[in-house]
C-alpha cells in the first residue's frame, strides 16, 4: 500500500466517525464536534494530496488546507454561539426535544 492510500484511509475513517457522531448524538455540541472531525478529515486529504502530488512547490493543497482551517474556526465560533443562544431560549441542548420551528 502506498503512503498516500494509508492517509486517505485514515481520513475516510475519521470522516465516517465524525458523520456517525453528527447523526447519532443528542447533544448539539457533540453534533458540532462531529462536524469538526469531518472538516479535519477533509484537511488531511488536502495535505496528503499536496505532499504526494506532482507539484508540491506550488503550495496549492497547503493553501487550501490553511484557508479551510480558518473557515472551520469561524464556523465553530458561530455554531457554538448558536448553541448557547438556543440553550438560553429553550433551556436544553437536546436535539430530540427541539421539534418546534416557532419558539
Amino acid at each position: 500500500m502506498t503512503p498516500l492510500a494509508g492517509f486517505l484511509l485514515v481520513a475516510a475513517l475519521l470522516f465516517a466517525i465524525g458523520l456517525a457522531g453528527a447523526l447519532t448524538r443528542r447533544n448539539a455540541i457533540l453534533v458540532l464536534i462531529g462536524i469538526e472531525l469531518m472538516l479535519n478529515a477533509a484537511n488531511l486529504n488536502l495535505i496528503a494530496f499536496w505532499r504526494y502530488g506532482p507539484h508540491p512547490e506550488m503550495l496549492t493543497g497547503m493553501m487550501f488546507a490553511i484557508f479551510s482551517i480558518a473557515v472551520a474556526a469561524a464556523e465553530a465560533a458561530v455554531g457554538l454561539g448558536l448553541v448557547i443562544s438556543i440553550h438560553r431560549h429553550a433551556h436544553t441542548t437536546d436535539l430530540d426535544q427541539m421539534n418546534r420551528m416557532k419558539g
Binding site: 485514515v10 475516510a12 447533544n27 469538526e36 497547503m62 493553501m63 490553511i66 457554538l80 448557547i84 441542548t93
Partner: protein
C-alpha cells in the same frame, strides 16, 4: 508506511472514536483535543510544518477551548437520563458505515494508481508567506473579512437579550 504513521493513525482514530462515543460531554471535548493533536502530528509527518502548527494553534488552542466553554455554559456536562444517542441512531450509523464503505472501496480500487513516495518538498514559511500575499492575496482578504464577520456574528447571536427589548 512507517511505524510512526501507524502510531499517529491509531492515536487520531482512537481520539475521534472516544469523542463521539463517551458519555460525559467534557470527556468528549478532551478526546477531540487528542484527535486534533494526532492530526497535527500527521501533518508534520507529511512535511507540512506550517499547517501542523496552524492546526495546533487554531484547533487545540482555540476551538477546543471554545467547545469546553460552550459545554460549561450550557450545563452540557450532565449526562441525560435517556441516553446520549438519539432515537434514530441506527439510521445514522448505517449511513456513516455506508459512506465509509464507499470511500474505502474507492481508495482501495485506485491504490495501485496512486503516486509512490516522493522526495519531501522543501517548503519554507517564507515561501508560504510570499504565496499568501502574492498569488492568494484575494482569498486571504476574503478570509480576513469572513473572520471579522463571524466574530461579530457569534457575539451578537450569543449576546444576552434584556427582558422586553424585543
Amino acid at each position: 508506511m512507517s511505524f510512526v504513521f501507524y502510531l499517529l493513525a491509531v492515536l487520531t482514530v482512537a481520539g475521534g472514536l472516544a469523542a463521539v462515543l463517551l458519555k460525559n460531554t467534557v470527556h468528549c471535548a478532551l478526546a477531540l483535543t487528542v484527535a486534533f493533536a494526532g492530526l497535527a502530528f500527521l501533518y508534520l509527518n507529511l512535511d507540512a510544518q506550517f499547517a501542523g502548527f496552524a492546526q495546533i494553534l487554531v484547533y487545540i488552542g482555540a476551538v477546543a477551548i471554545l467547545v469546553v466553554f460552550a459545554i460549561l455554559l450550557t450545563k452540557g456536562s450532565e449526562t441525560p437520563k435517556d441516553g446520549v444517542f438519539s432515537k434514530t441512531w441506527l439510521a445514522g450509523l448505517v449511513v456513516a458505515a455506508g459512506v465509509f464503505a464507499v470511500l474505502g472501496w474507492a481508495v482501495l480500487q485506485t491504490a495501485p494508481m496512486l503516486p509512490k513516495a516522493t522526495a519531501s518538498p522543501a517548503v519554507t514559511v517564507g515561501q508560504i508567506g510570499n504565496a499568501l500575499v502574492d498569488r492568494y492575496v484575494l482569498p486571504l482578504e476574503i478570509v480576513a473579512v469572513l473572520l471579522t464577520v463571524a466574530l461579530i456574528g457569534a457575539v451578537i447571536v450569543a449576546m444576552h437579550e434584556k427582558e422586553g427589548s424585543r
